[in-house]
Structure formats: structure tokens, C-alpha cells
């Protein structure tokens, strides 16, 4: 099951309303995914040389009371990374100078229970267990701004209901994927990737798809080529929705077993598992509404 949603705002004047438009999209898919929810939002990128990571403290003893500022002070004194933190309960976005790998390595040693949800220059990630409306409320999704987002409501079928197994999944920098459906060969994909040094955080099938596609992108494929290869490598029933700093991309399995509908206007492209999540969008009555064809790669740029 699960619900997928995404919105790319072509009209820059709407960027301030991304969160407000997004929340009903997410909560509209509650029936398809009542156990967890998450969202990746794309903001204007940081200057080159600076990175941000989205962190989760819900697995620590302190939970939402985690002392993020102490963590960042310690990080700065050890790595001189000029790090800042924006806290949001058990979520925090840490911004710093330099590469991601040394900071992640430092976290593994000094704060091993902190879960790194995403890294990059443009993408912030939020995900947790709970009904979509609760998760949206918990992290103030309605106040978020940006150019586009990728969201998910989860009805777990293949791995446990935990915050780290909620979607979106991320790999590398500024790449995320959500998925409604199920893969039948995630372990085969994983066994193929792990000897190449690609590390997995969970046993979730979507993570295998996400890391596979990011591996292809890092290896030089453009997104359409990577997705074309994915049709061969990833077996199952799915609609994948992906986000990069300037695009949303979608592909459906050859049998179109899992739903997807798109509404496009001059102002936006909105994607959802079902039209129910799009009905509130401004001007949707006059939008071009269509179902993406199976096996076809769709990429929308902003």
C-alpha cells in the first residue's frame, strides 16, 4: 500500500506556500499509509563548500529533549566545521563547512544513536512514525517553504514500523526516493551493492532501490538512464517518486500495479497515488490531469 505525494512549484511566487499546499496532500493519503510519514523538502542550495545534514534523535535516551547545541559545540571544537543547528524536537538540521563524510564519521564515534536521515546542499528531511497529520503537526510541515517536495505515508508490509524505516529514503547527497508497492529482490540488489562499499542503514526494500539508483547516478548515468536500468534491476510492483535539487522524477512498474496520478498547471506539477490528495490545489479543476504510463520515465524540472 503506502501513499506517495510530490509537488514541484514552477511559479516562484508559490515557494512560500509549499508547506501549506503540501500538508493536505500528505494527510489525504492517510488511508493508504497510516503508520508513518515523511517528507523531503528542497530549498535554495547552500553555497558550495557548505553542507547540511538532517538528524534524528528519537533513538537516543533523551529523544526530543536531546541537547543539539551541546552536540554542535563539540563538533565545532573537534572539527572546526563552523556548524550551525536548527532544531525541531527530535529533528535537527546541522549546517557546516567541508565535506559530509568527516562529520558523519565523527557522529558515528561521538553520537552513535543519532540517525543521519539526509545530506546535501538543498534537501531537508523529516520522517517519523505516527499518522501523517500527527507527523506534519509535530514538525510544523505547514510552515515549510521551498521549490519542491517528495512525501510519503507508510503502511508497512515488509519491514518494521520504525522512524528510520519510514520514507523518504536518501542516498549520497540531495537524492531521495519514496515508493508505494513492494520489491521482490531487495536482498539481491543489496548483495550486489554491498561489495561495492555501499552501506545500508535498514532492511527496508525501498532503501535498496534508493541506493541502487544513487549508485547509478554517481557512476555517471543521468536520471532517465538510471531509471531505465532500474526497470531491469529492481523487480516488483511500484511507483517510484524521486527528488533532486532541481527535479522530480517518476517511474511505474511495467504492470502499473501501483497507482499514480499527475495534475499539471502553469504554476505546478503535483503527483500523488490518488487524486484525493490533489483536490485542494489551486486551479486543479483546470489542471491537465493524467495517469503516467507504465515503464515511462517522467522528469519535471523547476
Amino acid at each position: 500500500m503506502c501513499g506517495i505525494v510530490g509537488l514541484l512549484l514552477k511559479n516562484h511566487a508559490l515557494h512560500g506556500r509549499l508547506g501549506e499546499l503540501m500538508v493536505p496532500m500528505l494527510t489525504g493519503m492517510t488511508d493508504r499509509g497510516p503508520d508513518s510519514a515523511g517528507m523531503a523538502v528542497f530549498t535554495p542550495p547552500l553555497r558550495d563548500g557548505r553542507r547540511k545534514i538532517s538528524l534524528y534523535s528519537g533513538l537516543t535516551d533523551e529523544g526530543a529533549g536531546y541537547d543539539w547545541h551541546r552536540l554542535v559545540n563539540q563538533l565545532n571544537s573537534d572539527l572546526h566545521a563552523d556548524a550551525d543547528v536548527a532544531t525541531n524536537g527530535n529533528h535537527a538540521i546541522v549546517t557546516f563547512d567541508g565535506a559530509v563524510a568527516p562529520v558523519n564519521g565523527w557522529l558515528t564515534t561521538h553520537a552513535p544513536k543519532i540517525h543521519v536521515m539526509s545530506a546535501g546542499r538543498a534537501m531537508d528531511l523529516y520522517k517519523d512514525v505516527g499518522r501523517p497529520a500527527q507527523v506534519a503537526q509535530r514538525y510544523g510541515f505547514a510552515r515549510l517553504t521551498g521549490s519542491h517536495f517528495v512525501g510519503h505515508t507508510r503502511m508497512a508490509t515488509e519491514s518494521a514500523v520504525t522512524p528510520d524505516r519510514a520514507h523518504p529514503f536518501t542516498a549520497g547527497e540531495d537524492f531521495c526516493l519514496v515508493h508505494n508497492g513492494s520489491l521482490s529482490n531487495p536482498y539481491a540488489v543489496r548483495r550486489m551493492l554491498e561489495p561495492r562499499g555501499i552501506r545500508f542503514d535498514t532492511d527496508n526494500d525501498t532503501e535498496a532501490a534508493c541506493r541502487y539508483l544513487e549508485w547509478r547516478l554517481r557512476d555517471g548515468d543521468d536520471l532517465p538512464t538510471a531509471l531505465q536500468r532500474g526497470l531491469e534491476a529492481l523487480d516488483g510492483f511500484y511507483t517510484f517518486l524521486m527528488g533532486t535539487p532541481d527535479e522530480l522524477a517518476l517511474i511505474r512498474d511495467p504492470f502499473a500495479c501501483k497507482p499514480a496520478v499527475v495534475a499539471e498547471t502553469d504554476d505546478y506539477v503535483a503527483i500523488s497515488s490518488e487524486f484525493r490528495s490533489l483536490a485542494h490545489l489551486p486551479g486543479v479543476r483546470h489542471a491537465h490531469v493524467f495517469e503516467p504510463a507504465p515503464e515511462r520515465v517522467y522528469v519535471w524540472k523547476h
Binding site: 511495467p254 504492470f255 502499473a256 497507482p259 496520478v261 490518488e274 487524486f275 484525493r276 490528495s277 490533489l278 483536490a279 479543476r285 490531469v289 493524467f290 495517469e291 504510463a293 507504465p294
Partner: protein
């Protein structure tokens, strides 16, 4: 006669359907208008009265499923399973229809003005379907009786494992399914296509259609085929 109006931003689908499940004599001849359907599931399911229902917008899953006697017009698109298991009456979708449109319909007429998704008319049991646009792969899979008229193209594996339903296609067929074959278009076929196009209010040259029907080679078990079909 008084028009019944429902606004699904205010009324629930359950309230709507319970009202539409009133005795047929009470509903007969009524106009029913449904506003702001906004993709809700199960709109006007299980009707059993000669009413006219107009859905002003996009319908969700199983719209007008199990229809009997009613005439249902969906002005937008319809999601999975529109008019599935219809017994009689007419269902028309002005936009596109998603997967499994008209699945298992025993009777009645489903018209889709736009495209229909995959598995259109799967397991059709006697209903008629007219699609103004194209249909996706696996359409007419295991269709047992009834007629499907496709004015556009058909996707892969059209009519796989067909029984006695007949499919007419004007455009290109990506591929035929197991045991489906193209047969000569007879005068009876032309009359059928004309009749169905007329009922659907669509204008096409009936002689431009191809007839797809079962080769009937799967009707009997053939041990010598060694599972190769």
C-alpha cells in the same frame, strides 16, 4: 421531479450511497448531482434504480461499481475499477479511466471518452465497453462475453486467454495475448461496431476496425504443448 444534490465536501459517500439505495420506485426518474467528488472512492456504487447521476469532477476507485439500471455520467476522470461488475445501465467517463475499467461487467454499457488504463474489460462477462481513446496492456484479459470497442490503440497482450468476448480495435495493437487472433471483419461485426459507437455517441468508420477474438486453442488441455503457448 426534484433533483437530488450532494456536495461531498459536506456529505459523506455513505450518506450519498444510502440515499441512492432507496427503493427503485422511489428513485425512478430522479436526477442526482454529485458535487466536489474530489477523487472519493465508491461513489454511486450498487445503484439499482433508473436514475440519472452526474458526478461533477474526478471520481476515485470503483465509481458506479455493480451498477444496475442507472445512467451515470462522470464529468472528470475515474480511478481504478469504474463500473466494475456492472449488471445493466450506462456509465460514461468524460475524462480518462484508470486500470480495470469495466472489470467483470455482466451487462450495461461503459463509455470512456478518453484513454483507459491497463486491464480494461478484464474478465468481462457480457457487458459492452467503448473507449474513445486508447487502452493499456492486458485489456480484455480472460474476457468471457461482451464486446469491447477501442477507437484508439491497444497496449501489449490484448485479449490474452480470451473466451467468447470480442474486441474491436481501430488503431494499432502493440501485441496480442495468448490465444487472441485477428479475424476478418464480417457484416455482423460492422453492425455491432456501428451499434456500439452509436450508443456511445462517437463517430468512426466501423469498417476501419479490426476484430480480435479467441482462437479457442486454450479451451482444451493439450498435454503435448508442454506448457508452451
Amino acid at each position: 421531479m426534484e433533483t437530488l444534490s450532494f456536495d461531498l465536501t459536506r456529505d459523506t459517500v455513505r450518506q450519498l450511497n444510502q440515499r441512492l439505495h432507496a427503493p427503485a420506485a422511489e428513485l425512478a426518474g430522479r436526477e442526482v448531482r454529485i458535487f466536489n467528488p474530489d477523487g472519493a472512492h465508491n461513489i454511486a456504487v450498487g445503484l439499482n434504480a433508473p436514475v440519472r447521476v452526474t458526478v461533477h469532477g474526478h471520481a476515485g476507485y470503483y465509481a458506479a461499481g455493480m451498477n444496475q439500471l442507472a445512467t451515470v455520467l462522470i464529468e472528470g476522470s475515474a480511478s481504478t475499477g469504474v463500473a466494475e461488475n456492472m449488471m445493466s445501465g450506462t456509465v460514461r467517463v468524460k475524462g480518462f479511466a484508470s486500470n480495470a475499467a469495466g472489470a467483470s461487467a455482466h451487462g450495461g454499457l461503459l463509455v470512456v471518452d478518453g484513454d483507459a488504463g491497463l486491464r480494461c474489460g478484464i474478465s468481462l462477462k457480457g457487458g459492452d465497453i467503448v473507449v474513445g481513446g486508447s487502452v493499456g496492456s492486458f485489456s480484455g484479459f480472460m474476457a468471457q462475453a461482451g464486446r469491447i470497442v477501442i477507437c484508439g490503440d491497444a497496449g501489449s497482450a490484448l485479449g490474452d486467454s480470451l473466451y467468447e468476448a470480442v474486441i474491436y480495435v481501430k488503431g494499432d495493437i502493440a501485441s496480442l495475448g495468448a490465444d487472441a487472433q485477428i479475424e476478418p471483419l464480417g457484416e455482423c461485426d460492422v453492425a455491432v461496431v456501428q451499434e456500439l459507437l452509436g450508443a456511445a455517441g462517437l463517430s468512426h468508420d466501423a469498417r476501419a476496425f479490426k476484430r480480435v477474438a479467441s482462437a479457442r486453442s486454450l479451451y482444451h488441455w493439450n498435454a503435448e504443448a508442454e506448457q508452451e503457448y
